[in-house]
Point group: C2
Chain length 405, copies 2
Amino acid sequence: MSPLFEIQARHPSSPARLGVLRTAHGEVRTPAFVAVATRATVKALSAEDVLGVGVQLLIGNTYHLYLRPGPEAIAALGGLHRFSGWSGPWMTDSGGFQVFSLGAGKVHGVGKIASIFPGEAPPNPTGPSLVELTEEGARFRSVVDGAWIFFTPEEVIRAQRLFGADIILPLDECTSPFHDRAYTEAAMERTHRWAARALRAFADTQGLGPNPDQVLFGIVQGGAYQDLRQRSARVIKGMGFPGYAIGGSLGKSKQDMLRVIEWTVEELPEGAPRHLLGIGGVEDIVEAVRRGIDTFDCAAPTRMARNGSLLSAQEEGFRLNIKNARFRQDGSPIEEGCDCPTCRRYSRAFLHHLLRTGELSYFRLATLHNLRFMVRLMEAIRAGIAAGRTLDLDQIREGLAGKGP
Amino acid sequence: MSPLFEIQARHPSSPARLGVLRTAHGEVRTPAFVAVATRATVKALSAEDVLGVGVQLLIGNTYHLYLRPGPEAIAALGGLHRFSGWSGPWMTDSGGFQVFSLGAGKVHGVGKIASIFPGEAPPNPTGPSLVELTEEGARFRSVVDGAWIFFTPEEVIRAQRLFGADIILPLDECTSPFHDRAYTEAAMERTHRWAARALRAFADTQGLGPNPDQVLFGIVQGGAYQDLRQRSARVIKGMGFPGYAIGGSLGKSKQDMLRVIEWTVEELPEGAPRHLLGIGGVEDIVEAVRRGIDTFDCAAPTRMARNGSLLSAQEEGFRLNIKNARFRQDGSPIEEGCDCPTCRRYSRAFLHHLLRTGELSYFRLATLHNLRFMVRLMEAIRAGIAAGRTLDLDQIREGLAGKGP
């Protein structure tokens, strides 16, 4: 059998590399952006749409799919690939992010794990925790009907076996940037014990579900503490996972995040794929690729699209706000030279009109563009690595200008 | 120049006919269903989507497009065809329906003009009228910012010249089924005077806007009163419009509606196209085609899709409710044998899941199916006319079974 991951070229002046991630449902050219399909669909798109803009890999959410329609229903319908209509490579995350977002994320009032967080603002609760954490696992309140559900490392593996994604993840605990060192360390140690239990459960459930070729990646934790990140990377590496994900907290600034990536990547096996969970800003991706990250998932590009924030290499901050009145009679496409289905046919004025009048058509057209932008960004990054160019924002901006499929 | 409308075959046992409606932006095979694109988009779809399911003709709404983005903005962007991305045939309605829906429709608590209305229930106001009607025209409150706008027959023609749809309509007054005979007659007479003013305005604005090949249809009113409908049809016919639309009120029952159609069609020129405004139930369409109607527009099929009501010839009432729990694990398509993009790839279970979890993707997939169903329905009706079969529901149901593109 061909290897899961093959490095095909290395960047001359950084740990960046070009690779191929092989799954039973197709190959992924890395570095790659993984589109978020929380509930088995990229919001506002069909599977054909996602394929059409060149996305290679989707990530679903175990917590959300567990609640609705449930692992048994998905298995009965032939698994996630068949259920969703996306027959290419799938990942599923573990529910670990919900341990954070429904738990400490609420208590600390932190909307997202990491790098967006400027400075040392105090905790600002948005509600009580909906999660009870014990050594055994995480008890959650269902957001659907309020019922308690119990996620153990074993149950999370069983659910992901039934979903049948190609790459699955063990239950972990994302800590908050406001957790202290003692808590972060204890949570990390528990995540390590959960990882060992997940590996056993993964071996024990071989043959369960629609996809016998699943692989289980390890998740490195340890917050923004150098020695904890290094220890976590060594411990998780020692368990022999075929690939690795870096989980949050990633600290309180972009600089923290980049340091966390450097400490972690240094400890991980060179030949294994490295996934950075939940990060997807243009600059973040470029910087993380330069530090050896292969894949990224992030809901921001599709969420931004729905809010009117459209990506363009021709804009200062890589985005424009289509709600702005200056687009009301602007007959040009979102981004000159973009080859997405939206830019090929529709003007900024039309998109402005659709969003202003609340038309559903807007959400798909905007999402198609932003996802195509992310795919083109990764193509430009891969071209930059192949050519041995400096991987900086100016280079990438040039690479994106007028780039075709 | 080839004629606007050509009748290519006649049904042996009814006034139904097969025709071709020719516009500067393409031909329409009739009988045809006109998809509603109120604000220059079919809700949840792109122009490519609409083309892909075989829709031939769209109808936009003058009132809504007048408010946003406005006739001048649309003209500056090249007209409705270019603005919307739909370069096939366009109709625009006149705002006459809003005279009803924002006026008497509110005061009488009638949600829609006509045939859905069972019996003689008393008026049940849902709010004060937002319309002031005078001989000069209709003053409306803008639903966007509360500002008053003034629709005269002349202004409505000017706006539609700037939009540039292929078929446009004069300002009229839709009466309510609860208006008495005296009111209905007076409103009809005013509508006739407005029609004459619209014709003059249409001649005076030749050359204005992006589409020199527009045609203006006449609208017949007269409520559910036989002599008024006949008089209205004769008066409007006497003005020499190239095509005719039948406006509401269409009475208080389906039987009333069919009688109104019969009285009207009998008076109209045989060779001109006949459009029935705002009607689109499966049975209504079949019955109206049998009485000589050529085209129909209705928001119901797309609105029903968004609400979970999916059309199928295999269901008793031609529809199923995808929200129903019995579809949670149903791996079959909405309608066995349907060739729409949704039925070719997605199960009832997936659509049920998307709607239950509020995913935007649902709205497009459901709308694609219902619109494709309407196109297939019209294909089955045309095939029935061509073959001289009885145009009844059982025949049509058979014609729809497993019908390809």
